[in-house]
């Protein structure tokens, strides 16, 4: 398909486990964002890539969170030693240019930490 694809759609992890969430952006899109959305809230910014460069990671809640986009296409968000407060929907979005262009979102990965 032509849209942003995220996998897995659902992930259940035991507290303390590591998880990796994958994002396939729209082909050719320069910008890639990760957001975290808690129930009843708006998406909260985590990190931003322009091609392979991570230009802003100010929203990552702790050093347990790590994101990469090594070839400027697919991105992975990794969470180490998951905690219950990490339970949320993780959304990936890509945009055609660096700024002032709409972001197109995937359907998200719902992470539940038990």
């Amino acid at each position: 398909g032509a849209g942003v694809s995220q996998s897995p759609r659902y992930k259940v992890a035991k507290r303390g486990q590591d998880v990796a969430l994958r994002c396939d952006p729209i082909s050719g899109h320069v910008s890639l964002f990760w957001y975290q959305q808690a129930l009843g809230q708006g998406p909260e910014f985590l990190t931003y890539f322009q091609n392979e460069a991570q230009l802003d990671k100010s929203g990552l809640p702790s050093d347990r969170f790590f994101a990469e986009r090594p070839e400027g296409s697919v991105s992975t968000l990794k969470i180490q030693r998951t905690q219950q407060e990490d339970s949320a929907v993780y959304l990936c979005a890509s945009g055609a240019s660096s700024y002032n262009s709409p972001l197109h979102f995937g359907n998200g990965t719902r992470l539940t930490v038990t």
């Binding site: 942003v4 995220q6 910008s31 964002f33 957001y35 009843g40 809230q41 708006g42 998406p43 909260e44 910014f45 931003y48 322009q50 230009l55 802003d56 100010s58 929203g59 959304l91 979005a93 660096s98 700024y99 002032n100 709409p102 972001l103 197109h104 979102f105 995937g106 359907n107 998200g108």
Partner: protein, 115 residues
């Protein structure tokens, strides 16, 4: 500090009437604004955007109005249809002026269109 605020958590409108969703922002560096629609278990879908050099943008049934002096934008949906029932998020970015590319989202307004 919530830089983008949607003060109405929910709104109900009769089918065929106008829906008006509101959004306020605090950061005067924002220069690009967007509205998204979200159905349950799906990601947000882009609806319409506006640059700060304009005060109105239309796309079919959807119109966004921007009042820079009041730091306020609104989304008008005319006529409202039952399929418009969803959560609507406004978002803002200051990319071209501040170099800050992050898009900041509001907390959303749940719109219910009654048949």
């Amino acid at each position: 500090d919530q830089q983008v605020k949607q003060n109405s958590p929910s709104l109900s409108v009769q089918e065929g009437r106008i829906s008006i969703l509101n959004c306020d922002y605090t950061n005067s560096m924002f220069d690009y604004f967007l509205w998204y629609k979200k159905y349950p278990a799906e990601g947000p879908t882009f609806l319409i955007s506006i640059s700060s050099i304009k005060d109105k943008n239309e796309d079919g049934r959807f119109t966004v109005f921007l009042n820079k002096s009041a730091k306020h934008l609104s989304l008008h949906i005319v006529p409202s249809q039952p399929g418009d029932s969803a959560v609507y998020f406004c978002a803002a970015s200051g990319g071209s002026t501040s170099g800050t590319y992050k898009y900041i989202f509001g907390t959303g307004t749940r719109l219910k269109v009654l048949a």
